[in-house]
């Protein structure tokens, strides 16, 4: 009797211990779905014995949603958005490995559908809008299975066929393998030599220019300036302006150094060029020195110097989530106060340093003390 109780206690103890161990080590979901649920053969290994059961109904529902999207004509943006949201929700509800496999299978099938939407980067490296279903899925794959997304990105970048897909692949590779930055910049440079792509630049290609802004890559900017040359290509001129602004915000010192070293760069738009100098932080000795170097340069016109002074007071910028850089956040009162405190002290010094700019500095002072 006593031995029986002891045995029962040991069994109970073993069960409790097993329960605790299982609780601390939850089984990871499968890395693949059963071949039976895949529309095309899966390149991934078969299910491990410990993997959870595949949810056939949900898997089928997702496949049906994708198929319905492909066979629907998307002339109503709101409807397309709602359908994509349904797909996103369904993907999120599945174990990541299952969802990843379904996405990979769909991409491998070569099927696609235009959404009628644009290529719009949003917060947290997520597209707000995607022009095709494939781009929507490539974007999503990076979040749920970065390894698989990186593999696909490498394949796309090795043989780019579509500029928007190339752009999202470039982001994925940069995000998942930051050390590939030099290769990614080379890929961007190559894209800007592709005659078909530059003749009719896609939104994805234009957003990919953000990589040059993030990396402070002035050679890409020089190429952009060539593309924007007269007869003026409006799209490339806009791309150049946005990239230069974002680069000046991300790396003000490097941008200033390049502008000072290349006084002919953007010389046909000196007032627009002056806007870029306003990203300098005058509290930073090196950036202040570079601004002073520019103000002292006789090759820079008085008009441009005056504009620089004004823009240091009220800089202008493009606000957007970049494919590689973030949108500026809320402008904080204490930051602005600190900026103005430095600005006033600096301009006071400049009254002595730049006698020819005295009238402009006084004009700025009058503006700031406007009643």
């Amino acid at each position: 009797m006593k031995a029986g109780r002891l045995l029962l206690a040991v069994i109970l103890l073993a069960l409790v211990a097993t329960g605790i161990w299982l609780g601390m080590n939850p089984r990871k979901p499968s890395s693949a779905v059963p071949a039976a649920s895949s529309p095309t053969p899966s390149p991934t290994p078969a299910l491990a014995p410990s993997a959870p059961e595949a949810p056939p109904l949900e898997t089928k529902l997702l496949e049906e949603l994708l198929e319905t999207f492909v066979t629907t004509t998307h002339d109503d943006a709101e409807r397309a958005r709602a359908m994509l949201e349904n797909i996103r929700r369904e993907i999120r509800s599945l174990p990541p490995e299952h969802a990843s496999q379904i996405i990979q299978n769909f991409l491998a099938s070569g099927k696609d559908a235009t959404t009628g939407l644009q290529f719009v980067p949003g917060e947290n490296d997520t597209l707000i809008e995607a022009p095709t279903l494939r781009i929507f899925l490539l974007d999503l794959l990076e979040k749920i299975d970065p390894e698989a997304a990186a593999r696909l990105a490498n394949a796309i970048l090795n043989a780019p066929a579509n500029a928007d897909e190339w752009a999202i692949a470039l982001r994925t590779r940069q995000n998942t393998q930051p050390a590939t930055l030099p290769q990614n910049l080379t890929s961007l440079q190559r894209a800007l030599q592709n005659p078909e792509w530059i003749a009719k630049p896609s939104q994805g290609l234009l957003h990919a220019l953000d990589l040059a802004a993030m990396a402070g890559d002035f050679s890409t900017v020089m190429r952009l300036a060539e593309l924007a040359e007269p007869p003026e290509n409006e799209t490339w001129a806009e791309g150049l302006a946005v990239t230069m602004h974002r680069m000046a915000r991300e790396s003000p010192a490097a941008t200033l150094r390049e502008l000072n070293a290349n006084p002919d760069f953007l010389a046909e738009q000196p007032l627009a060029r002056a806007d870029l100098i306003a990203y300098a932080n005058l509290a930073n000795p090196e950036e202040r020195r570079l601004v002073e170097e520019r103000l002292a340069n006789p090759q820079i016109s008085l008009d441009e110097k005056q504009k620089i002074l004004h823009m240091l007071v009220a800089p202008g910028e493009f606000v957007h989530e970049g494919l590689f850089t973030e949108a500026p956040g809320m402008v904080m009162a204490q930051d602005e106060e600190a900026r103005f405190s430095v600005l006033i002290a600096t301009m006071t010094d400049w009254l002595e340093l730049f006698p020819e700019l005295r009238p402009s500095i006084r004009e700025v002072a009058e503006y700031l003390t406007l009643e």
Partner: protein, 284 residues
């Protein structure tokens, strides 16, 4: 050919971007009228602007349509949120221009991007916002500390496109507090409301048939139509140059709410949809 350009052909008059109109009225040397208006903006000539200022409303009256802007009545001008509307003065290149905007936070104003930027001259300088301007008085007058627009917006002198108008929204951050003790205008981002028959109130400082020193108002109930994304139009509404960036208010839950900004003549407005959120989020 863009839908917008097709649409403009239906109008009996040549339809041009408000900024181009503004340039016409502000750049010196084009004609006696433009020169005088330019002088008015600069306050260099004292007498001629006064003469023309008095004559302009009468000269223009004969051509007025049903929904054309008229002076906003005193009781409306002083009521919230109409009193959050103000005039913008700014330089682009060497010339000074006027436009309109609406205070939506204690230091934030929503306006049209073309008041703040063109590709040739870059961002505007010496921007002054005068909230509640009425003649030579205002409730708050302030310099700005920052100006922001959406990327891709491009106003080139000879280029007006529906794409540019679809991006034509911007914000300025002011140095001084705009509405101490008062509530700035509320923003509601739903362009669909503009497509209903609900009454819309458009406001701004028109400087074409009027002097540019007083707030003008148009009301219209006809629905607006989408031309491209958040760029909508209504050919019943013909804003005056200088109203650019002014608000389109709709009554939502009993409160006049900012829903769009005026961007082009021919009743073109840019709805404050989700794409404008990054701009609004930067305001404090």
């Amino acid at each position: 050919m863009s839908e917008y350009l097709n649409w403009t052909r239906k109008l009996p008059v040549v339809v041009i971007n408000v900024k181009r109109k503004r340039q016409l009225i502000c750049k010196p040397g084009k004609s006696r009228l433009t020169k005088d208006m330019f002088a008015l903006a600069h306050s260099r000539l004292k007498l001629l602007p006064l003469v023309f200022g008095l004559a302009l409303p009468f000269l223009g009256q004969a051509a007025y349509g049903q929904y054309d802007p008229v002076l906003a009545p005193e009781n409306e001008r002083s009521a919230n949120p109409v009193n959050m509307v103000g005039q913008m003065q700014f330089f682009s290149g060497r010339h000074q221009y006027v436009g309109s905007g609406t205070a939506v936070t204690q230091r934030g104003v929503v306006t049209a991007a073309h008041n703040l930027y063109d590709r040739r001259h870059g961002f505007s300088r010496s921007v002054i916002f005068s909230r509640g301007r009425n003649g030579n008085q205002w409730l708050v007058r302030t310099p700005i500390t920052r100006q922001q627009i959406l990327p891709g917006y491009s106003s080139v002198t000879q280029s007006t496109s529906d794409r540019a108008f679809a991006l034509d929204v911007g914000v300025i951050h002011t140095l001084n507090v705009l509405a101490s003790g008062a509530t700035p205008a509320r923003v509601y981002a739903d362009p669909r409301l503009l497509q209903t028959t609900q009454q819309k109130t458009m406001l701004g400082y028109g400087a074409e048939r009027h002097s540019g020193r007083h707030l003008l108002r148009s009301t219209i109930s006809d629905p607006f139509f989408i031309y491209r994304g958040p760029f909508l139009g209504n050919d019943g509404f013909e804003p005056e140059a200088g109203m650019s960036g002014g608000p389109v208010f709709l009554e939502i839950n009993g409160v006049l709410t900012l829903t769009a900004v005026i961007v082009s003549s021919g009743g073109g407005v840019r709805a404050l949809d989700a794409s404008a959120r990054p701009l609004l989020n930067s305001l404090r």
